[in-house]
């Protein structure tokens, strides 16, 4: 295996052209912090993009940042923070699950995986913030899509396709993202001791309240989380201090009799939600970890079904008002995939195997299997970008 490190776009075009001529498949890597996601790639050569580095521009009053894909998330986060801004979808860097330092991953890897943190419910994911990109397709051609403005319907929105495509469609070289002001302050209301059904019902109630709760999670009793052994139902309020205070007062008045309330101030609140986004409460140990997305009202059922089937759950919690379940289980050769997917299929949604040994992820489809018609369509979309199947073969599903 050769490791290829293009210095610029011209190098990359040459690399892809040669790979195509010689039918040599390529594993596409930024700094490799997310290689544990998806199926292990068996490619002939590896392309490392960390040399395509640097912020192209950041214009705070235009709410836009453009960076080459190898730029680290810590550099981007630092630049934005100096202007009081951030990527509002809360980049997940998988540091807790895979044991990397925070911010070590690249912006390209972030867009490629497409995952967002707890604020996903309110502000969307990477797909909602990617305004445009430049890249090289499987024909070895440089191309672009979108632009640098947030209101743009000119041509097909290929940004949506490449976000979350795990490097299987194109090798991105530059990404342009919408950025937003970081909220002036924040705090979290934690209601302690609620049962799971009551806690989840309260999340859904709050998600439809005018108090603009930006993140809603429920940590069940017994999870070795920040609240010890007791359950915690969590509500994040962000914005100007005067607004946060008034919304807190409104919610406290409504929920006075629901249970003991703990209020986390700005720093503790920020740290809490960063940890939840990284699935830190279920990351410890040698477990297999699943990320399950369903309708918020179905979140409780899925866990109840799995418990009834005696799945060896080590820890779990709900985010996104109950619609996102992070679940850690004792390791098994099939990662309990059929039981988990049966439970999810009964309510519609998807279950992604996030952490498991390479041989397990090679044997079990890490991404939720699709109806045949959709898989066939996705294969055709792949062919539209990479007809020879050069990029990250098998990373998402066997056919892609």
């Amino acid at each position: 295996m050769a490791i290829l490190t293009p210095r610029d776009e011209a190098d990359l075009v040459e690399i892809v052209g040669a790979a195509r001529a010689e039918k040599r498949s390529l594993e596409i890597v930024g700094r490799g912090t997310r290689r544990g996601l998806g199926r292990p790639v068996e490619a002939v050569d590896r392309v490392e993009l960390s040399a395509l580095d640097g912020i192209v521009f950041h214009e705070p009053s235009e709410l836009v940042l453009s960076a080459r894909v190898g730029t680290s998330l810590s550099e981007i986060g630092g630049t934005l923070a100096r202007a009081g801004q951030e990527l509002a979808f809360e980049p997940v860097d998988h540091s807790a699950l895979f044991g990397h330092p925070r911010g070590a991953g690249t912006i390209g890897g972030l867009v490629g995986t497409g995952w967002a943190g707890s604020r996903r419910l309110k502000v969307g994911a990477a797909r909602d913030h990617l305004l445009g990109f430049e890249g090289v397709n499987g024909l070895g051609e440089r191309f672009k899509s979108g632009g640098r403005v947030m209101k743009n319907v000119t041509g097909f929105d290929l940004s949506k396709l490449v976000a979350g495509s795990f490097g299987t469609l194109a090798i991105l070289t530059t990404v342009t993202l919408k950025v937003l002001p970081r909220p002036e302050t924040e705090e979290t209301l934690a209601i302690l001791g609620l049962g799971d059904a009551d806690g989840l019902a309260l999340l859904r109630e709050a998600s439809g309240s005018p108090q603009e709760v930006s993140c809603l999670a429920h940590l069940p009793a017994g999870l070795h989380g920040p609240f010890g052994e007791t359950s915690a139902t969590l509500f994040r309020l962000e914005g100007p201090a005067v607004s946060v205070a008034s919304r807190e007062a409104d919610l406290m008045a409504r929920w006075r009799d629901r249970g003991a309330v703990e209020i986390l101030g700005e720093d503790a609140s920020r740290a809490l939600w960063r940890d939840l986004g990284e699935a830190a409460p279920v990351a410890h140990g040698e477990t297999q970890v699943w990320r399950i997305s369903v309708a918020p009202s179905a979140g409780a059922n899925v866990v109840a079904t799995l418990k009834a089937e005696r799945l060896p759950i080590v820890g779990h919690f709900w985010d996104w008002a109950g619609g996102l379940i992070w679940l850690a289980a004792e390791p098994a050769g099939d990662a309990h995939a059929s039981a988990i997917r049966r439970a999810v299929d009964a309510v519609r949604g998807h279950a992604t195997l996030v952490r498991a040994a390479d041989e397990v992820r090679a044997g079990v489809a890490p991404f939720h299997p699709q109806p045949a018609a959709l898989t066939a369509l996705s294969v055709r979309v792949k062919a539209a970008f990479d007809p020879d199947g050069l990029f990250n073969p098998g990373r998402m599903v066997g056919e892609i």
């Binding site: 909602d128 000119t154 619609g323």
Partner: protein
């Protein structure tokens, strides 16, 4: 019609009676419209300068009927043009002489409102506003609000990725969708998303949104609904120059404030609005900014003060804060009536839709003035200032020979200018046929071929809404969509619009 569309296929035109009979066997016969006098009602959408009666109109009532129509079209190799309410401003549902116009107007039911999961499942023919109305009793609404919201359908909103005046804070259609059901060319029915978040594999829903009816026919839409903000308040700001207004907008955002809406009008638009119906706008202002702040009462109080302070520091000559709902709506009155107001002095107008980086506004407006002199026409500007979406309204008189062509040439120059300063051809109206031949200003042939190959993944024979979005059609070869130029067919030469 000066616009070149794919040449009608004689073989299809000759089979018209057969096609009508086959459609009548699929849907109720009354839902097949084929008499010449009835077809004329469908000959254009809201871009009325281009007209073409379709081969036949079919109005299916069920997904099974849509699927059967698409299967038939595939079998007979006939083109299909989908249509919602026909409010496209870019000719997205302009019919083809040899194409079936597939009208979705009978799909007009709200299937489910799920407050627990904050979403609504609706048929594509439901109007944008009807969704908000259906959930208003519990204080919810559907956020994207294109100005045609009383008439435009949600299926059309998905096809065009429709925007509105609140996009900066609440996003476009693409950011407010959870699920779609769609019928592909050939009749296959697929479902994407649902009530959960994130795609399971590729984000096909994302690329379908805004694909202008080229990838499939939407038969069901699941949208997010939001709780209405407790309070909304307007701030009306007058500035001695447009540039100072633009600086103020930038300063508000730089202070970390994301208003629910932020609109700007230039002197020509202010004057037109005041002449149409006086609405109390400052007549000495060259640039007017309307800021709407929404949220909880404490937040809105706080932000209103902040915005007023920033505006005074940036040279605002008048600052008014609404003290009642009536006053807030009054601030919007002139802006919302800007199009008919300009139409009243026009007598005709052409509405453009470019987006620019906001910092380029002053430069773009002064270049636009030069272009107005060059083309001998007037222009008024309304502007979604928060997100940089510009709506220049070019005034012309259709009764003067040559005026339409002058207006089109002026419009094309404006859009080229938008691209030149880092912006795009269309922010929310779509490419359609209107901006089709300008796509080369923004994209290279390679960029466009990449988009076309995605089209091929959904519709390999280009039967679905051909002649829209792409300035020329390339055949999709069987092997990996390797594109080849189609030689003399079906677009021998395409004029610049």
């Amino acid at each position: 019609m000066s616009l070149l569309m794919p040449l009608p296929e004689t073989a299809i035109l000759e089979k018209r009676d057969d096609i009508v009979a086959r459609l009548q066997a699929i849907v109720r016969p009354g839902n097949v419209i084929h008499l010449e006098r009835e077809l004329s009602a469908y000959e254009c959408d809201a871009l009325t300068m281009y007209r073409q009666p379709p081969l036949v109109v079919v109005l299916p009532e069920t997904v099974a009927e849509v699927s059967a129509v698409m299967r038939l079209a595939d079998e007979l190799k006939v083109k299909v043009v989908p249509r919602g309410s026909g409010t496209s401003l870019s000719g997205g549902s302009l019919p083809l002489a040899d194409g079936i116009l597939l009208g979705m107007s009978k799909f007009n039911r709200i299937l489910e409102v799920d407050f627990d999961n904050r979403c609504a499942v609706v048929q594509p023919g439901v109007t944008n506003l009807a969704i908000s109305n259906a959930v208003a009793h519990k204080g919810f609404y559907y956020a994207p609000d294109p100005s045609s919201q009383i008439a435009c359908s949600i299926g059309g909103n998905v096809a065009e990725n429709a925007g509105g005046v609140h996009c900066l804070k609440y996003g476009l259609t693409a950011n407010n969708l959870l699920g779609l059901e769609m019928v592909l060319m050939g009749g296959e029915v697929i479902r994407l998303g649902g009530k959960h978040l994130d795609a399971d594999l590729y984000d096909l829903m994302g690329v379908i949104t805004g694909s202008e009816g080229l990838l499939g026919v939407i038969t069901e839409v699941t949208v997010r609904i939001l709780q209405k903000p407790q309070v909304a308040r307007g701030v009306l700001l007058g500035f001695p120059t447009v540039a100072e207004g633009a600086d103020c907008v930038a300063a508000i955002i730089a202070e970390g404030i994301i208003p629910g809406g932020m609109e700007m009008m230039d002197k020509a638009a202010i004057d037109a609005a005041e002449a149409f119906k006086p609405c109390g706008y400052p007549r000495d202002a060259e640039g007017l900014v309307i800021v709407e702040l929404d949220g909880t009462p404490a937040e809105v109080d706080h932000l209103t003060e902040e915005v007023a302070k920033i505006a005074r520091g940036r040279g605002a000559t008048s600052v008014r804060v609404s003290s009642s709902e009536a006053e807030r709506l009054g601030f919007w009155f002139g802006r919302k009536n800007a199009f008919p107001a300009v139409g009243a002095i026009g007598p005709d107008y052409l509405c453009m839709d470019g987006t620019i980086p906001r910092k380029e506004l002053a430069k773009v407006l002064s270049r636009m003035d030069e272009l107005a002199v060059k083309h001998g026409l007037r222009v008024a500007n309304v502007f979604h200032a928060g997100d940089g979406n510009l709506h220049p309204l070019i005034l012309y008189d259709a009764s003067i020979p040559g005026d339409i062509e002058k207006a089109e040439a002026f419009g094309a120059d404006i859009l080229r200018l938008c691209v030149e300063v880092g912006g795009v051809l269309t922010g929310e109206h779509g490419v359609g046929v209107e901006k089709r031949d300008l796509m080369g200003e923004m994209f290279t042939d390679i960029d466009l071929a990449q988009q076309e190959r995605v089209k091929c993944a959904f519709d390999v024979d280009h039967r679905l809404n051909p002649g829209k979005v792409f300035p020329s059609l390339h055949r999709c070869a069987e092997m990996g969509f390797m594109h080849v130029r189609s030689g003399a067919l079906p677009f021998p030469e395409i004029p610049r619009f």
